[in-house]
Structure formats: C-alpha cells, structure tokens
Amino acid sequence: MCLMSSSKKNPASPASASKGQKNEFYRQHIQPVLQDERDSCFHHCGGFSVAGLTKAMHELRGCLVDFPAKFQFNLNAVFIELYQNIEAYGLKLPDGNSEDAFGCITLSGRLSGDDSTENYLRLQAINITCRSDENTLRDRLSTLSSLDRKELAARYRAQLASLAPISALARRRTGLGLLDMARRVNGQFSFTLDPIDDDHCLLILEAEFYDTPLIPLKKG
C-alpha cells in the first residue's frame, strides 16, 4: 500500500533517514539513477523535513557564493520548490526506518567551456511517488514541459487567479510550485517517471540553468 509522507506520525531525524537509505530498495532503484556524487558540488540524499530545508539551503548557498545574485536567486528558488515538493508529497523509503519523505537532490554541471554558453548547472531531484498518481503527474509534467515561456506565464497567472483565500490548512497545494520552477529555468526542465513496483514510481525532475558564469563551484 502506498501512503503519502504527510501521513507520518512521528517524524524521525534526517540522520536516521540517511542510515535507512542503505537498504535494498535504495540500492536497487535509487542508486542507479543518481548523478555521481563526486561530480556534484551539492548532494543531499535521505530524509526531507520542514526543518531540514534550512540546513540544506545554507549548504547550497555555500556552493554558489561567488555567483551573481540574480543567478543564485533563480537557482535557489527552484531548489526550494524541489525540496518542498519532496518533503510535502514524496514517500518514505518502503523498507527504510525513517518516517520522513525520502529523496535526493544534486547540483552538478559543466563549468569548463571556453564561453559561458557552453556551461550549465543542473539540479536533479529524485523521489518516490505513489503509482496511483502516475498518470495525473505524467500529464501535468508533460504539459508543463511543452509550454513556452509565454504560455507558462499565462498558466501561472490563471492559477493565481483561481486560488481561494489561504486558510488555516497550512499544507494546501497551490498548484504554483511546478509552474514557478518551469518559469525560472532557462534551459531544460524535464522529468522521468518510472514505475518500479506495483505501488511505487520514481520521479526524477531535472532543471538546467544555461549561460552559467565561469565561476568555480565550491563544495557544499
């Protein structure tokens, strides 16, 4: 049976989640699709919690500290949406010992070209979703990735206009997160959605930022 992470009762610490990742499900399904950690400047793999975002953002900022502010802001904003997406809607590892949603986010890229147009940074986010959500999610992401910038903006405005006043129900979906990311990414915004067993799918979102300044990344 597939349960959303929001049904968790006793959130465990990220530390216990990272111990839990060394299980069979992780080795079989997650590890093969992960970008090589050695090629990344930022890598978070394990439990995703509300409080954990603060630490993760601190580490990401450390990688990008020498980049122009505007470049940092868009990348940071996409990272926040990716993190919160996993934390709010991702599933825990089926055979893990943490109640936190499990996921991996990696920042890597190519910063060795002769001019900035050959360089890019890529955020890759991996998480587990319910197989029952596969078709809805696939339709939504396919549509988003087919829209051009103007169409994304129009979709964002329409979604804003449709939002009811915010209520005390803090964790309501706004439908803005994926649109927000797609608008901020000036390169590829792509997804892979692979069924891995009867109950689970693996969702991989990749956001590429082109025209990256030739500035060395610092290890986070």
């Binding site: 601190h58 505007k70 926040i80 804003l160």
Partner: protein, 130 residues
C-alpha cells in the same frame, strides 16, 4: 496603533509596519516553515489598521525570492488591500526587483495584477541595495 515588526530569519522576511507613517515594508527572502502562520500575523495587523479608516498606505516589497506558498500568502494580502482600495483608501505598492531581472519582474507583475485597485510601481534596484 503600535508599530508591527517581524524580524527576518534565514527563511522569512523582515516585516516592518509603521501605522503612524502609513508604511509597510516586506524585505528579504520568504519560504517560512509555516507560511500561513507567518503571514496571518501581518494580515491581523493590517485589518486593525483599516478599522481606523486610514486615507492611505504605502507598501514596499523587496524579496530576493519567495516560494509558491509565499506567493499565495502575498496574493492574499494584496487582495485584502485591494478591497480597502476599492473602498477609497489610496494604496501604493512599490515592488522592487533587480535591474534586468525579467523573471522577478514578471512574478511581481503577475501577483500584483490580482489587485488592480492598487497603484503599482515596479522599481529596479542594484544588487547591493536589496
């Protein structure tokens, strides 16, 4: 009415509301752990301000980035201000974005256009001043 101030944290903006000066500033970054709980405090303060039937209010927003939940919360506040503007209060919204930051400008315009009775100015600023 007393000034209303929320100090900035690593995830939430500095909010400074000076009713005597008829000015509200929201500056920094916005992706609070609990978006609703954070912005509802400001909503409450603003509602109290409008019970005095003020003639005007100047709002200045300068956010480096904000998450989708914060966009919803800001939308909520601007819609509320829009209702008071429709009743006669002159409300000015100055949204500060970086020079050449097309994406930041677009987000500001999209959210602000949901509150058409406010007098909107999008001002460009240099990186160092935000």
């Amino acid at each position: 009415m007393q000034p209303f101030i929320l100090r900035a944290s690593s995830r939430s903006p500095e909010v400074t509301f000076q009713p005597a000066d008829k000015k509200l500033w929201i500056t920094g970054e916005s992706y609070p752990e609990n978006v609703t709980a954070f912005y509802v405090q400001l909503e409450t303060a603003l509602k109290e301000y409008f019970t005095g039937a003020p003639e005007s209010l100047e709002v200045e927003i300068a956010l480096r980035y904000f998450n989708s939940g914060s966009a919803h919360a800001l939308l909520n506040i601007l819609r509320m201000l829009d209702k008071y503007a429709q009743k006669g209060c002159v409300i000015t919204l100055i949204w500060k974005v970086f020079v050449d930051d097309d994406i930041g400008r677009e987000f500001a315009q999209d959210i602000a256009e949901q509150a058409p009775s406010l007098f909107l100015t999008i001002a460009e600023i240099e990186e160092e001043s935000l």
